[in-house]
Amino acid sequence: MESASEESPGLVPTDLDTTEGADVTNDSSELTADIGEDQEGSSENVEGEEELSPDAEALKEELAKIVVHSPAIEKIEEKFDPAEFPDSYKNNLPKELLILQYSDNFRRQYVHLYRDRKPLFLNPVNECGVEKFVCTTINPTQLPYKELYDWDTAAEFVADYLDFETLDPPYELPTRLLSPTTVLKRQKGNCFEYSTLLCSFLLSAGYDAYVVNGYATKETCLADETREICPLLTKKEQKVEEAKKKELKKYTVKPPRDLQSKFEMKMEQRKIAAKEAEEAKRRQEEIERQLELEKPPPDPLYGLRIHTWILVLSGKREVAESFFIEPFTGLPYPVDSTNYLGIESVWNNTNYWVNMQDCSNGVQGLSYDLGDCTRWEYMFPGLDKPLLQIPEAEEDLMAGLDEEEDEDKEIEKHLDMPPTWVEPLKLSLKDFQMRCPLGKKSKLYKRAKLEKFAHYLMPDGLISRLSVYDDRELTDLMLIKEYYAHRQDKLHTKIHNHRTGWISEHFYPGRHRCLKEHQYKASAPAPENERTMIFYNEARVDGLKKRIETPLEMTEHFVNRDDFMFYKHVDFGKRQKKFGPQEGSGSGNTRPINKMIQKFHRNKSKQANEDIAELIFLISEDKIQISYHTEDARIVSSTREYIKPSNWEEKGATLKWESDQLHQTFQVDADIKSKKQVDIYQMMLHLLKCEDVCRERVRESEDEVREILNGRSKEDTESELEIGVYDTERNEKAKTHRKELERLQLEEKMRKQEMEIDYLAPFLAQIGDPEKVLRNQAFKLKEDCLNDLKQRLIDKANLIQARFEKETQELQKKQAWYQQNQVNMPKENEEDYLNYCSDAMFRIHILEVRLNRWVKVENLYY
């Protein structure tokens, strides 16, 4: 398709698919010509009919004015610089040439035998314009990423990593097939390149995988998933556990006689059933209508669109059943999927098979026994492919006749596959982790949009965002699900329901306060509003599982507490506006508590009559109500009610006891001895203490909510990501540490080198590196060396001296300047000057010290 690079000129109807779909031809120029003729014809037709109404004339004129231009498609075939590629990409080995000839021969025979079949995809050119056989383009390469070891994750990776290109035109085989290496580099490819790459990965992972060339629906070819439900949204089918039917035991008591009229009940049921049926029918119709609405428009190229995908046969890697993988989406399909309409050929790195089965019914009912040569015409005989099972006896018979001869022949005859010309695939860790081109990818599904991001790409750790809409045009947003990874605050999912306005955030375990889930209204994130918090109760000391809040209520649920409490409910009153000084700092601006309810499980170690089931502190009424658990054989429970003494709030005051007024009780068992007044009194004291504790707990809970919310908002703004200890690229600390180590190593090396320097070498070089040094030469060497050293020392001393003098001079100058301008000098300058002076003095001092030492050293040598 060289012509694809040309600009297609002239008039082309805007929608090519709908008008001319049936007789489009290879060449776009021809196509335009055809259309031109068509138009002429039609205009003649119109001219022929004289009796046109003036209206129609006017319409015709109007129409004539409209000139439709084809959109200028500037499609330039991507050119590759051959210099970038190794030899195997640019040339063919003799064996490859042989294979090419062989396959050409195969094709000729094939065309001859099956004139009405489409050409085969055998020898496309590669990026360097060299013809290559498709089987050799597959290069099974294992990469060090475990995701590529399993088919599902590998397919997902390929689907994510590449951007897809459609075939142009969609009913023609491409002429060029890029090597997988180039595809990985470009991160782009058509279905052939996708499949070749994915097949390389799958073969290397040990799957029995093949590239399949055939035909598919428009949606599949264009990777159009807008009619598919997003895989993230399909809920796993929950096992509906049937309510265990009550076993009818031998001695199950008979239910009380039912005094309702059976007939009436039946009529009622019939009515309900009729209603239900109607409802069901209506629903069914609705669904059908919906389906009708969502059906793709008929595709004129149906059955002609060329597509390539992957076939994985059962047998290897514990694959129980053969299936297809769609490379564009990475999703598996059953072998009788309606997405695929026919198969021309399949191949992998060992052989090439042409489908001889009838595909008029799509791919349904095709056999994938590649050894069956009536169904699959192979290209290379006798390769290690499953041959059709020949009955043993026959084989024996044959073997008896001419075994050796046969074998010899076969060895001679067989043309084995040349090694692949493709370089081993390479993928850097960074690229692998980026997954998508530029690390982002978005997909459209039916009423949903999915955006994917590479890990660590987004500063807040977002890895995917799923937006669900109510309509197909994606305008009516229903909810957004955001998935995060590596967040330090352990947030992993955030669901914002735009319908209800609720946001729910899900966290991994390991947070302070053990928060698991947090639901709140987006409009009111502040404390004391409606919210639900779910905790990892196993990790909490107080066993808190759930806390539900509304502005005036707070309910907490507990699990597995030692005190058997499982429920706590608080009713708050309206905040009172207080005038004057406030009571204390603690109760400064908290909501007043009206009522606290605590509920307890049965504590088996106590008697039911003594075991409190519900404890209500009616704070606004100064009452405490208790109800006890019911005994096993009873249906009513004992209760007790205290009215707090009037002076209960005074600290340290003794509480007066008037039993009749302060205490009321109802005991189920009338016979039981009533409690002693002391016990009742002491119980009241205990309850008052309990009330204090309970109130404190409530305040603590409120504080906790506030703390969590503060923490959350802080986390949201900071949103730091956690970096694994082993992630050497991202872990800054580890990186600097490693760099430091490397630097130290380098220094060590340098030092070693320095140590090895022979200071006599330059002098020896002066006398021409003699093998042996004579006596006088040696003396001379010594002299030279010492002189040199002396010279160097002197130079150094001079240097120090010079610097010393320069510093001193400068200082003096500065001092002089200061003396002059001291009077009208701003304070800052003065400070600067003083600083400078002290610096300079320090430098001078250092230089002095050095000079002195130098003098000493010199004296030492001489």
Binding site: K250, Y251, A633, I635, W657, Q677, V678, L685
Partner: protein
């Protein structure tokens, strides 16, 4: 342990002293006032301190049955006594007394902490029942034998031991190592944590004797377990009314009192016959045994199922009742709240009337629910009784069938015995007997009547035994059935019903009273 103030007169625990102590140690302030006004019952007291009272004899403590902690330290007590009824005692302090022997602690099975520090005890003993003992302080006593400490091995929960200051502590190292080695579950010795190192070292030193002790203990334990298992099995067998039928006990019992039979068995040729008879007889017994066990299981299953269903029905009923009452409580709350706000007397009266009728309605509902349950249970119990009776009678029939087989066997055996004895008699008469027979046996072969009488009486005895067994089984199983049915009738039908009716009426009365009182208060 002579005391400096021996001159002080010894005292006895009496009512006064106890009263004073209880009041002193009881509640304070307002509660104390209340308590005094009401009086404190001794059996409500859980803690009692009687120290430095110069008590010589423990006495008068029997009323303190709920006592958990008792301090009797720093007295001059000489004997541990009078504490048999303090079964709830967990904490007992008898330190600084003049006790010489550990005794009288047999009933204090809940005791965890025992302190007999600074006494004159010379031997650790008589503490077998203190299974829960965790802390033992027995320092400053007259213990001389280290070996005596091995006694403490049986207290598996003992964690803390204080034994310093005894004669055997002279060599501190040996004492410590010995204790650590022999009492391996000990964690604290003389109030110090025993570290891992010293444990290992001590264990090494006394490895041999300890191993032996452990071995013995294990053997003992195994034996005990086996015994227990056997006991349990026997219990099951007894419950199935086929105890000992898996062995030869019935067969043996047939011959146990049958001296003639035993003698007759010595006749030549009886050996084989007897062996065959025994084998067959035991086979039938085994059948009865197995059948009995399987029937017992069936009966158990039936009983369990019955109870399960009864419980189910009761819970269902209970839930229904609770639901009704719960709904009423809501209603009551609403009505009471409403009454609080209304001032118009006429309206109040109307409301109260309505409420009262609601109470009556509640009564109706609860009672009808109860009646329904009574009906249901009655039906079920009848069914159950019928089925059980059927089961029992089938069981008895089958057992009888088997026992009839036994009788047949016995009859056959008897005939053969007869033959043999007659043959033998002839031989004896003709003096043709090959073997010598015992004198006793020879005595039977006096004449034909005697021998036939002997054989027959033996046979009758055997049949009697079998009949006895049959009767035994029959009476026992019938007794069991009637007792069970009686109990079910009493407990489930009558007693339960009464309690529930009382309960309902009580609650209804309470509601009525409440509203009446309210009425009264609200009245003009």
């Amino acid at each position: 342990m002579s005391r400096l103030y021996d001159t002080v007169e010894p005292s006895v625990i009496d009512e006064d002293m106890l009263q004073r102590a209880v009041e002193e140690q009881g509640p304070k302030e307002e509660a104390g006032k209340l308590a005094k006004a009401e009086g404190i019952d001794f059996n409500d007291v859980t803690n009692l301190r009687l120290d430095f009272k110069n008590i010589l004899k423990i006495d008068n403590l029997w009323e303190f049955t709920n006592l958990v902690k008792l301090q009797l330290d720093n007295n001059i007590i000489e004997r541990i006594e009078g504490m048999e009824l303090l079964v709830n005692l967990v904490w007992l302090d008898l330190s600084f007394n003049n006790i010489e022997v550990i005794e009288g602690l047999g009933t204090l099975t809940k005791l965890q902490d025992l302190t007999v520090y600074n006494n004159r005890i010379s031997r650790i003993e008589n503490m077998d029942n203190l299974k829960d003992l965790q802390v033992l302080s027995i320092g400053n006593n007259q213990l001389t034998e280290l070996e005596n400490l091995v006694y403490l091995r049986k207290f598996k929960k003992l964690k803390t031991l204080n034994a310093t200051g005894n004669p055997f502590c002279e060599n501190v190292e040996t004492y410590k190592q010995y204790v650590v080695a022999y009492l391996s579950h000990l964690e604290f010795l003389d109030y110090r944590l025993i570290d891992e190192q010293s444990k290992v070292a001590a264990k090494e030193k006394y490895a041999m004797p300890i191993d032996e002790i452990i071995h013995n203990e294990e053997a003992e334990e195994r034996k005990q377990q086996e015994n227990e298992i056997k006991q349990k099995e026997l219990q099951i067998h007894t419950k199935a009314y086929v105890e000992y039928l898996d062995g030869s006990s019935l067969f043996d019992s047939m011959y146990a009192e049958d001296s003639d039979g035993q003698r007759l068995n010595e006749m030549p040729g009886v050996d084989e016959l007897l062996a065959g008879f025994k084998e067959k007889f035991l086979g039938v017994c085994q059948k009865i045994f197995e059948y009995g066990l399987s029937e017992n299981e069936k009966r158990q299953a039936e009983v369990n199922q019955f109870w399960e269903c009864v419980e189910e029905a009761k819970t269902e009923n209970k839930e229904a009742g609770m639901k009704i009452i719960g709904a009423f409580f809501e209603e009551r709350k609403r009505v009471l709240a409403e009454l609080g706000t209304i001032t118009d007397n006429q309206v109040i009266d109307d409301k109260i009337e309505a409420y009262q009728s609601q109470i009556n309605e509640l009564w109706d509902k609860l009672m009808s629910l109860e009646l329904q349950l009574v009906d249901q249970l009655e039906d079920v119990i009848k069914d159950f009784e019928r089925n059980m009776q059927e089961m029992v009678s089938t069981f008895l029939e089958n057992v009888k069938g088997h026992l009839t087989q036994c009788r047949d066997l016995e009859n056959m055996h008897h005939e053969r015995m007869m033959e043999i004895s007659i043959v033998t008699l002839e031989k004896v008469i003709k003096n043709e007997l090959d073997d010598e027979i015992t004198e006793e046996l020879r005595m039977l072969f006096v004449d034909k009547d005697t021998i036939i009488g002997a054989v027959s009486s033996s046979h009758d005895l055997h049949l009697l035994k079998i009949d006895n067994k049959e009767d035994d089984i029959e009476t026992r199983i019938k007794n069991w059935l009637s007792a069970m049915m009686e109990k079910i009738r009493n407990e489930e039908e009558i007693k339960r019903n009464r309690v529930r009716v009382v309960e309902i009426n009580h609650q209804i009365d309470h509601f009525k009273e409440e509203i009446d009182n309210l009425d009264f208060l609200q009245g003009p």
